[in-house]
Symmetry: C2
Subunit: 438 residues, 2 copies
């Protein structure tokens, strides 16, 4: 096996603007585009920061140039050329391949727009993620994660990492992946719900970003068997409004983070960042039904209802976000806290909310029960077994403060932000009913 040649110090494409023209520079990257004309050949090099073009004088009798996607090192004289990709050229280049010539990729990475079908992108994810629009999509995800953590770190939250292998179901028995755990049956966690609640007792404010698993046999554009959940839980709240305030602050920070650190990606993907006014509107579920002229006995909002509410929030409040609070208690998980605000006819209602983003549900959250006896009542009312939740319930015997939280699905957030038709477009290597590879 050939040793890698020891190169000179490398300059990133984006840093070439700081180098005086005429200097000798070395860049390393993939051959992004190879164009061979009769007298001259162009080799555009792509590194993590951008592009730079090498100009090869073919009269000088150059050997065959490496094909697209081959990793190379290029050393030569820097010049500026506003017409060149990235604005710089390297002339009289010495081109050293850093690997074997690349096979022709199944997706044309150099084309400005991706034309391949989604199945092709998914089947060849390893190469497809090299395309600029794909990379831009994931960078929005990565910068969202970063802003999420930074703003919570600044508010006294502690990051936690909880088990993904559990002995029982989190919320319901459906949709669980079974695991052979040293001869015993275990399941993949559907959510860190029970763990993050318990740890509120220790750290008061916690968050976790991690995989969650749903064995839902749905073959839709919205379902993944594994997705990335951005979970938050906080204690000593008055009610769900304190939770909603944190959620809106987190989304605001994510939007600001993207504006500051991913402007080029937003521009490339033609993303309009959400409008989040100083006061995000909040409407009660019962009032929303009335506003929509819907049957007051409805127990949930239809997608069309949500879209209409989204239009209303934009028109009346200049907001792309709308919180709907006070959902019917029966439609929420057993750990949901009942409504504690001013009395509303009908019900029982809950201290929970959905956050709509441009008329589509983005996040569900709310206040949880915190008294042991309230858990026992809630489970009994639903005909659920207290024994099956023994480990969970025990945490509430030892003094849990009023608390609540929410979970943002990373893939849902990014796909709705960029207007992706399918959530699979924004997962690096999605898993679904049919797909377990690559």
């Amino acid at each position: 096996m050939t040793p890698v040649p020891v190169p000179a110090v490398r300059t990133l494409a984006a840093d070439l603007a700081q180098v005086p023209p005429g200097e000798i520079v070395t860049v390393r990257g993939h051959v992004h585009r190879r164009r061979e004309l009769s007298a001259v050949a162009f080799l555009v090099i792509r590194d993590r920061s951008g592009l730079v073009q090498a100009v090869v004088d073919r009269a000088a009798g150059t050997a065959a140039l490496p094909p697209e996607e081959t990793p190379v090192e290029v050393t030569g004289t820097l010049s500026t050329n506003p017409k060149a990709p990235g604005g710089h050229e390297i002339t009289a280049p010495r081109i050293t391949p850093l690997g074997d010539p690349a096979a022709t990729p199944p997706v044309e990475i150099w084309r400005p727009a991706l034309t391949a079908s989604l199945p092709t992108l998914l089947d060849h994810a390893d190469v497809a993620w090299r395309h600029r629009t794909q990379r831009a999509r994931w960078r929005l995800a990565a910068q969202s994660l970063r802003a999420f953590r930074e703003t919570l770190d600044a508010q006294g939250f502690t990051e936690i990492l909880t088990p993904k292998l559990v002995g029982g179901a989190t919320e319901s028995g459906a949709g669980l992946f079974a695991v052979d755990y040293f001869g015993r049956e275990a399941f993949l966690a559907q959510s860190p719900q029970l763990y993050k609640q318990q740890l509120v007792g220790a750290f008061e404010r916690v968050y976790e970003i991690g995989p969650v698993f749903r064995a839902e046999p749905h073959d839709t554009v919205r379902h993944l068997a594994q997705y990335s959940s951005m979970d938050v839980e906080l204690g000593f709240v008055r009610d769900h409004r304190d939770v909603l305030d944190v959620l809106v602050g987190v989304l605001r920070a994510m939007v600001q983070g993207l504006a500051q650190r991913a402007a080029a990606e937003l521009d490339l993907l033609d993303v309009e960042l959400p409008r989040i006014p100083q006061e995000v509107p909040v409407i009660r579920f019962a009032d929303a039904l009335a506003l929509l002229g819907a049957d007051p006995a409805e127990e949930d909002l239809s997608p069309e209802h949500e879209r209409e509410l989204g239009r209303w929030a934009r028109a009346e409040h200049d907001s792309d976000l709308l919180a709907v609070e006070g959902y019917p208690l029966a439609k929420r998980p057993f750990y949901t806290h009942p409504w504690t605000g001013p009395q509303i006819p009908g019900g029982p209602w809950s201290n929970s909310f959905d956050l709509l983003f441009r008329g589509v549900e983005l996040v569900t959250g709310g206040q949880r029960l915190h008294r042991h006896r309230d858990y026992l009542s809630a489970l009994a009312e639903r005909g659920m077994s207290a024994a099956a939740h023994a480990d969970y319930l025990r945490a509430f015997e030892h003094g849990m403060p009023p608390h609540g939280g929410f979970a943002i699905g990373l893939e849902r957030w990014v796909s709705r932000l960029i207007g992706a038709a399918n959530v699979r477009e924004v997962a690096l290597f999605p898993r679904d009913l049919h797909r377990l590879a690559p």
Copy 2:
């Protein structure tokens, strides 16, 4: 169910120093300690930031005070008292329980030192993590994660999140948890190795923090069935030394992050931060054997050898870290790149390293193969199937740069930092051969 009382604005215990004595303040937290004397009672309140003491004049005829761990709100007059925990007292307090009286915890949270046995701590993890030494341990973990990401973000790395459900084995078939994946067999990922390598082609520098799963039926103080892996991979390296440089920089940043943000926790746990000199010593495996007077045919270092090397690094280089490079190729995974440095007798050696921390292996890393044909040879030499690795291999047909990486086990790092006897002490809810709950 009783609604939570709407309280005044809350002040954190740590912020009381900014409040003038004599003002009325409201704090919220758990009852940390209740002490009832004949004329007076003390209620120490614990919130996420610290402690504050409420002084109750029993002559005033107070009702029974809530027991330890009950969440409460306390409003009263602030005064300073250097002898009080946290240095502040609240007099003439109005004490409002925010939940039911807490049952007596199985671990005495208020005692300065934890005396409970490890099984007790693990069985009652939800409550045990409330103890100050437990919280301090996890805060070292959380601040390590934060510093890890911050330093990599600043160096142009992109965070990735990869599948934990995979169709085949990563490195070997042993130690895999099998999952029923919609009627097909899948496995829990033992490492993001293959994914992070593939994504080097797209993002050049990537990292991931996530769970990895090992179905190793070992009941030791070092093994967990799920642990948190801090994975890094970077492209366009010269050799493993570029990888090692990033690793040392990451550890340096983690140590600095702890010094800056977790000084109180380090002090409480009596942790001496590692000495990391400007130049961390690197010794070749073959030279290490010679230094130890060991058989040059040895293929690995024994724990006693590692300890001796650790003492040597401390004595000769004033360093708690020592990198051992050039391990025998046959003892490393199939994707390991052969040695490319000056020729060493014996071998074949590899461009891989172990990083010893105080004489114990902390991190393994190195350069990987990047040419497709080198993978085919390496698999064939080991009698491994290329077909079983088809998805993985395909990524190397399309031009992968020279690259390498490493993985830090979070629990291993924290347990060695604090000198924990058992890695379970630093996992929030550990999973092992016997333990699937809580």
